[in-house]
Amino acid sequence: MVIAVRRIIFFATLFTIWEILYRLNQVYEVRSTTLFPSPIGAVEQLYIGFFETGILTEALSQSLQRIAVGFTLAVIIGALLGIVLGISKIADETLGSLVIALQSVPSIVWLPIAFVLFGVGNTAIIFVVTLGGTWAMTLNMRMGIKNVEPILIRAAKTMGYQGKELVWRVMIPASIPSALTGMRLAWAFGWRALMAAELIGRGGLGRTLMDARDFYNMDLVIAIMVIIAVIGLIVEYLVFNKIEKNVLSRWGLNDNR
């Protein structure tokens, strides 16, 4: 409860400061008045988009489907890749270089490649979203695996664990804190890639965002940002945070100060 209140106060304060800045700017015109968005305006746009025109409802449902699939794939593929890189030296030296080489490649470059591979459509978008999230998961998982206390692996080996089971029962549980960070980042970068990918014009929040930008509806841009942020927060507190609390308290890491 205290936490929730703290959080609400924090966000309410930000909101107010922003609106004040907006109004001051309207009067003194320090910055572009067309482009400076207002948080109240954003709330209005949210209302209109969900309850009047319905464009946000539709765009959101499309984007959610894509992020859900893309994120899931990114986490699975990223985790597998990370495990392989963490375990096998040869893979780390070859495939690892490739991962490092590819991870800086931006979505705008992947997009045309995805089109060539999958045609223009949902598959291409999901491909780009998956790529967007995979590397963060991969690198975090890799480091998680490399950081497992050797004694735990050794102990498990003497109990007959090896190969897949050793990975599954020891290395993965031991890397959960790292994996969690990987998942958080995969989520975030999946969204970013999604926004970039949706520009090609098959709907979704990304397209709406671009259109809103092109026609100076900065309030709607902010409204979409808010939607993404709120979904991020919901997932954070329903999923990631729960897992983290659980893991950290089990491991006795709760009170690190």
Partner: protein
């Protein structure tokens, strides 16, 4: 059960930048019979844990071979249960789960649980079945780790100072339990300890290791009748003998440290 035979084993760590390569011991040979209880004694850092790890298959000897029965050791296996010097518990598992974790490969779930509970009772941890490792005291962790190895019921038990962090009462209670288990199941046990009494109390043979250079100094067969009496003359005699040899080893190190033999 299984015999263990160690043939001309050498261990050198070559990754150490500071010391160049560091040879812990260079030619250890030892035959341990089926069902024998052997203790390893020796000054800190002489390579007891290293040797145990090599027998467990966790480290590779730089030279030489180890056989368990007829099999060349080239990796760990659940025929050799290990109690590590550190407790080595999985931090994400409860006490009970840490023990069943070791049994899951062998037993069905229910049975594993039953057996785990049984051995945790043996080490007086019934009240802490659902605690996580960080909630345990040092001695409690060590007891979990002992319960885990015993519950696994391996042919060969490798124990690295298992009772080091326990009070003397718990320790002697566990001496009795370990002795009973050993007698009943005829396990082969290799037992590292710093406690000379403990080693005389439990073992068939005591292997005394030294350092700089590392290796086996003496092997003492213990022919006293069991249960052994710590105040018997044979016992005290042997204790003194071992003590004096060990003292010489330590003296040597001390001279090296303080005298001119070694300079930086």
């Amino acid at each position: 059960m299984q015999s263990v035979s160690i043939k001309n084993v050498e261990k050198t760590f070559s990754n150490t930048k500071e010391l160049g390569s560091f040879t812990v011991f260079d030619d250890i040979s030892l035959n341990i019979q089926e069902g024998e209880f052997v203790s390893l004694l020796g000054p800190s850092g002489c390579g007891k844990s290293t040797l145990l790890n090599i027998i467990a298959g966790l480290d590779k000897a730089t030279k030489g071979t180890i056989y368990v029965g007829d099999h060349l050791v080239n990796g760990p296996g659940s025929d050799r249960g290990v109690v590590f010097q550190e407790a080595a518990l999985m931090p994400w598992l409860t006490v009970l789960d840490n023990v069943t974790f070791a049994l899951k490969k062998k037993l069905p779930k229910q049975e594993a649980k039953k057996r785990a509970e049984e051995y945790l009772k043996l080490v007086h941890l019934s009240r802490f079945l659902d605690s996580y490792p960080y909630e345990l005291s040092g001695g409690m962790k060590q007891r979990v780790s002992i319960a885990r190895a015993l519950a696994m019921d391996p042919d060969i038990l490798l124990m690295d100072e298992p009772f080091g962090a326990l009070d003397e009462q718990t320790r002697s209670m566990l001496h009795k339990e370990l002795h009973d288990i050993w007698e009943k199941t005829q396990k082969t046990i290799i037992f590292v300890t710093h406690n000379i009494r403990e080693s005389i109390l439990l073992s068939d043979r005591i292997v005394l290791m030294g350092t700089r250079p590392g290796g086996i100094r003496e092997v003492y067969p213990v022919s006293l009748d069991r249960p052994r009496d710590t105040s018997s003359t044979g016992f005290i005699q042997l204790e003194k003998e071992i003590n004096s040899v060990l003292a010489k080893e330590i003296d040597k190190v001390m001279k090296e440290e303080i005298g001119d033999g070694y300079s930086r």
